[in-house]
Symmetry: C2
Subunit: 500 residues, 2 copies
Amino acid sequence: MITLADPIAHARRCFGDRIAVIDGERVMDYAELGERCDRLAAGLVTLGVRPGDRVALLSANGHRYLEAFTALPASGVVLVPLNTRLAANELAHIVQHSGARVLITDRDPGELASLVDHVIVIPDEYEQLVGAALPQAADTGGTSVSPEDVAAIFYTGGTTGLPKGVMLTHGNLVANAFNKIIACSLSEDDVFLAAPAMFHVAGIAPLTGLTWLGGRTITTPMFDAAVCLDLIAEHRVTFFLPVPTMLASLVAEQRSRPRDVSSLRLLGHAGSPIAAELIRQAHEVFPDSELAQFYGATETSSVVTRLRHEQSTLGSDLAGSCGQPAVGVAVRTVRPDGADCDPGEVGEVLARSNAVTIGYWDDAAATADALRDGWYRTGDLGYLNERNYLFVVDRAKDMIVSGGENVYSVEVEDALYRHPAVAEAAVFGVPDATWGEAVHAMVVPHPGTTVTGEELRTHCRQSIAGYKVPKVIEISTEPLPKSGPGKILKRVLRDRYLGH
Amino acid sequence: MITLADPIAHARRCFGDRIAVIDGERVMDYAELGERCDRLAAGLVTLGVRPGDRVALLSANGHRYLEAFTALPASGVVLVPLNTRLAANELAHIVQHSGARVLITDRDPGELASLVDHVIVIPDEYEQLVGAALPQAADTGGTSVSPEDVAAIFYTGGTTGLPKGVMLTHGNLVANAFNKIIACSLSEDDVFLAAPAMFHVAGIAPLTGLTWLGGRTITTPMFDAAVCLDLIAEHRVTFFLPVPTMLASLVAEQRSRPRDVSSLRLLGHAGSPIAAELIRQAHEVFPDSELAQFYGATETSSVVTRLRHEQSTLGSDLAGSCGQPAVGVAVRTVRPDGADCDPGEVGEVLARSNAVTIGYWDDAAATADALRDGWYRTGDLGYLNERNYLFVVDRAKDMIVSGGENVYSVEVEDALYRHPAVAEAAVFGVPDATWGEAVHAMVVPHPGTTVTGEELRTHCRQSIAGYKVPKVIEISTEPLPKSGPGKILKRVLRDRYLGH
């Protein structure tokens, strides 16, 4: 049976001299990557780490992230990637909850050091470990992992509730690699830009398929539009998967200083709904790239649906869809009683595939709530049309009920984004004595432009029903707060508004 | 978890109006295919067929083959495809051994009728069953199948030993679909010509991936080079996977009457080793096609290794290789004691993947012999080079030991094929008082050409060692006997020679 030990074994045997990863000046082929993975795994054994143990990783993107993601699961160790944007107390909660014995980090571990047996600081201590003489093969374990074993625990949250540890098994991540290779038509010729955070499954999981195929990954410590465009031009990047807020920055940066982006065959986006206007602009600025949308969740190892050639859907009845289920994934929408929705009827989106999590680490209640008869309940609201295209209308809790009418905030945000002055927009419900909830908006204008809330309300009234138009539109010159993958944190905005 | 119920469910929901299969004048979209599969499954339920029961299918290629392969596993029933070239007593053995309760056939069932509860004759009785009113949904079962359930039993043999029933589970055939989509770069734009026998896993298994993607299959009752070339031109076929003997006929036919074969992007071949000369000729005659070799076995659900762009390997150190392991498959070569061979060292070829059989139906001894620690022992002899390219030198039993030297018959056949007069060649060992075994050859010249054994021996001496040159080369004007997939039946030739 196939596990995450297979892709790197395949790569080093079949094409050891192909370049695996470029991280700044560091260029590494698959033979060296495989060798370093062996040494990292062996080094952890010398620290007492055994199969099934958890090792946490708190680091910016880089070649060592790929090494840890490759070496640890292949040797039976469970990787726990940590979101670098979390506060110290949140990180401490995750390290404790996961029971991690070792922390690998590129920063001062602070209080976290007291929660683990060993801290390995990047780069010095890490390189020391990897540089140590490789012990006898017998000592490194020769571990046999099985598809049912947990390979990694990705803690999610930030937009809603407390972090939960999503357990992804070898079988899950292998299935996801296949689904992703097919959904993105990946090949050995692909050059992937790993700019979105690798601590998210969507940022790291594509690397499994690329390793298997012999593709190449370019890393950059964190997303920066100018740096990304430079890297695309320099390394002839073919495949990039930013979130919509990143895409907006890329469009602005490419407009102000155009680079040669002709190598980019697939410009995907994922992580949150996207405004049609942004797709239009991206297509204008990246005319050689196919635009594609991917919809998924950490619990599904990422891809659930995909909308290829998204630019061709603009103005069609598919505009606003996140596409059809990927090959290998099934999707349903259900009513509150669990019955299937009719086409066009909004319900909760469920997904089933071999890449769906087996549950949350040490949280049977959350697992039981999220998984039903093999289906993962996404918590998103959406509908399927007659041809099985999914339209996600909102996170369940982002639906605003105002005056007995349902208002989906994405629709209002889309209207706001169509105004030329709007750079960022967030819409949420606030308590209202008359309407139950009132639609409330926060807007950040593009630098150098000014706009008033009243002008935007007038603008919105031209395209959406009166009850959907925000009662109040606050104008802010500060960027809106965002989670790691760039989702606007509406909960934070709502809490601020309510004075929590 | 994903099973064979998923691809057709996906196809009918996502692209019901796309053409699934064209069988002569019959054109069927995925909506109709799905509907007919529902009706076929429901009809079998009315005959008392229950999940886990076996249903045998004895038929030429056609749309109903795809229907049975789709409907039966999806409803939990186990399909037993029968090789139409077998003798009556061999068929009876398989029907009895599998315990099939129903036989679906397009021919007179003869004695087989007495071995099953029901015979469904194609087309009339089959269409009557499918045309019956669909019972209430509750009556059709709503069966839930699991990845571990057996989906089909493919009986193999013919070239060696008695037929054994290879059990392929839903998980096996789903994994194989993914492996094949990636190995062949399949997409929704592909048009597949199902001319090789659909009763072999290599002939039917590609249809799972095509269904998932929304590709199209063209069926023809049996292989005929002229008919195939006409179909390629008429339907703009993109993907065709004949065995080498078929490829030789296609080359000859296309030379004598060229068709427009420009649509054919991938011309693969599989099933037996191929002579370099044939690759050269095929590349000349099909200049727009990529040539690719696939190596596998029924026990691996087909693909193990693949050599893409095979024409580019001619004259290189990769000539004669069947390529690197496909994504999702691992390959080893081992010594008789089970230790790994060094690069270049010949040993038995082992394969591991999620598509490898769980074993032989009702044959624990054969299962134990074939499967070891998750690895399938192919029985083939070969070596892996430094870059993990596999070179299969022979079936273990096709190796001839003559005067203490090992002679691999494929090497001798390759030499024979390089002579312009040779259409078919088979080389095998015969008992010899002096040498232990002597190398013996059977050759069929191209129509209208003549050649003598002595001329061919002189020709062979130019390219291979003296001890490898056949002691006797028999010239025959009759085609050599072949198994279903077109493998030359050397066992039959050897038995004939020995007067068995």
